[in-house]
Symmetry: C2
Subunit: 346 residues, 2 copies
DNA sequence: AAATTAAACTATAACGTTATAGTAATTTAA
DNA sequence: TTAAATTACTATAACGTTATAGTTTAATTT
């Protein structure tokens, strides 16, 4: 019922001008010491807090960061948000979150809404549809408006801005090498279609690891999944594909999946076929999420350190916002991956 | 580089007053038709968009909703956020998300930050610490400021506001009955300490279901977990506790866990003890999350319909914001749960 | 032809701040 | 003793809007 008190009201109440009140509360040397303490005491009593919207308008800064991610129910993105939120709060920024739901159109609308004065900068992971379309006009327009953007994870080399990614090639190599060191020679790769940048890169890493270990590449051992919506039905299709390859390629002794859903699907198919994990087939996934931790056997994974990615993205953004990197060229920060070894690869 | 154009600039450029431009863009009948179309065309050309911060200041409305949840990496909360975000966007609202990380202090700070002009209303799920302390002054102060609050899931009867919850007692009863109908008689309950409202209620539901089925309550079959941070270590303790009970109470034939982490822990312990699921012991969890879906065996769960909860919370909030429920007493909306049957209970 | 009304615009104030410039009273310096 | 400097304030404009209350000029009425 009691609305927040304003400078105006304090001024009226104590018979000073608004300027005096404003300055007194900022402890300005221009104001007499008695007046200051009187005003400060009054403000404290009435729990005065400056109105952030007014400040935003005045300063043309909202101290708010917008984040657009393709989906929420995803351990990796959740972790990234935690990282962003923590660092942002520490630096006095708020975080607005929008979901693109993997849709290009929603991504465009979300950006438009946020850019209309609500946020100082954006952190984005591009939707699958955007990557497929290769249409980045909305990103470019925002950058043109002098609103800094940081891309993470799902990026594009056709967008010029700061980026934070993991070394997907290196991560995939680590994963593949992990299996090879275990003595696996015939390694099935479950990956995405090439337009998903991370899938593409992880595929490259897998191929490079094989080459470096003098294992001949068998393209039949690569399953490229076309999944846009991650529905139950599509999951079923993935399992079907894996099953088919397992039936035709009997010597498979390792599986590398580019995310934990695919890895979990692989586990399920293997168990259904009574194939022992990790004795007969070793499995490794990407992303250290809850599924990997609670699956049976628990999954060895490539940990992407999502929280760190979030933190670094936020750090890079705030640097741009503070003009600390004004004339510096755009940077791409690479976060190291690490293997979390669990039961699925003994 | 090109900053967004303002009414002032348009006015100057076309030699009209700011008022005229403003009205022309609102298609006001006060403005001549030629002028209007000229101004509208110009605005469109320069992609004029009203500055939301200025509008917020003017209207004393931000069209932004604040959401404070205890943690992010949690299927249920993620789903709730999806529900909130979808509905909010549909109604022209933005969503700011803050994490309390189960800490009372962070919850207080988050609310303070958001309340300073950033948001029109709040949707909150209370942190465990807050529930333990039973200190709700921050919530009350916010409500006193005429900022509507909707609580969901983790609520308290000591706070007077609109609430959206599931019927935890009923859900727990459904779960327990599901096991009883399966012929289970000695059902282990893995729950939280009583200060967590949902844990408490689910415990009650369990006890009621037993009573209604004339099964005597054995308090040794109730494990109350004290977990504040959900660390790996605490998880280990949970498994230890379950293991101990399984060793002493040999006739256990069912387990009801009040969340999916506890359920997954139960699965793990059972499998380690070579107990067949569901043949020897049936397991049912709460919350239909990814763990349940991808665990082996997949878990039967009580689905809380998080997205629906989010939507209803958002709907209730916007109702208050629009003063549609001005004089109505606070309401508590109860969302029905449903059992999702999977392998763990045949 | 004077009075009324309608049409098409503009000026002003307000939302809550703060930075800049300005003013009055007092103190200090020459 | 008068000019200069200091102290302690106040007024104003601005951030970008919009609603309210004006102000012209032209058209209509009587």
């Amino acid at each position: 019922m009691k609305k927040r008190i304003t400078l105006k009201q304090i001024a009226k109440e104590l018979n000073y001008s608004i300027s005096t009140v404003s300055k007194a509360l900022k402890d300005s040397p221009e104001i007499g010491i008695d007046t200051k303490s009187k005003i400060q005491a009054f403000a404290k009593l009435y729990n005065y807090k400056p109105n952030n919207v007014a400040l935003s308008l005045k300063n043309r800064k909202t101290r708010t960061i917008g984040v657009i991610i393709p989906e929420m129910v995803h351990y990796f993105f959740a972790k990234v948000i935690i990282g962003i939120e923590k660092f942002a709060k520490k630096m006095g920024y708020n975080v607005i979150i929008s979901l693109s739901n993997e849709s290009f159109e929603k991504e465009v609308i979300n950006i438009e809404t946020l850019v209309d004065g609500q946020i100082d900068g954006l952190i984005i992971s591009l939707s699958k549809e955007t990557l497929l379309k290769q249409d980045f006009h909305h990103i470019h327009e925002t950058i043109d408006l002098d609103i800094p953007i940081i891309l993470f994870d799902r990026i594009s080399s056709n967008v010029y801005c700061d980026k934070v990614i993991i070394d997907d090639i290196e991560g995939a190599k680590k994963a593949t090498n992990h299996l090879i060191k275990n003595g696996r020679k015939s390694i099935l790769l479950i990956t995405t279609e090439d337009y998903v940048s991370v899938g593409n890169l992880r595929t490259t890493g897998y191929i490079q690891a094989l080459k470096e270990n003098n294992i001949e590449l068998d393209t039949d051992l690569i399953i490229k999944v076309e999944d846009k919506k991650s529905t139950e039905e599509e999951l079923h299709n993935i399992e079907e594909s894996i099953n088919k390859v397992l039936k035709t390629k009997l010597n498979i002794d390792g599986i590398f999946a580019v995310n934990e859903i695919y890895a979990a699907a692989a586990l399920k198919v293997l168990k259904k076929n009574n194939i022992k994990i990790p004795e007969e087939v070793g499995v490794i996934g990407f992303t250290d999420g809850v599924i990997s931790r609670y699956s049976d056997p628990s999954l060895t994974t490539v940990d992407q350190h999502g929280e760190k990615i979030g933190k670094e993205a936020c750090k890079a953004l705030i640097k741009r916002l503070n003009n600390e990197s004004k004339n510096l060229p755009y940077q791409t920060k690479i976060i190291e991956t690490s293997i979390t070894s669990r039961e699925s690869t003994k």
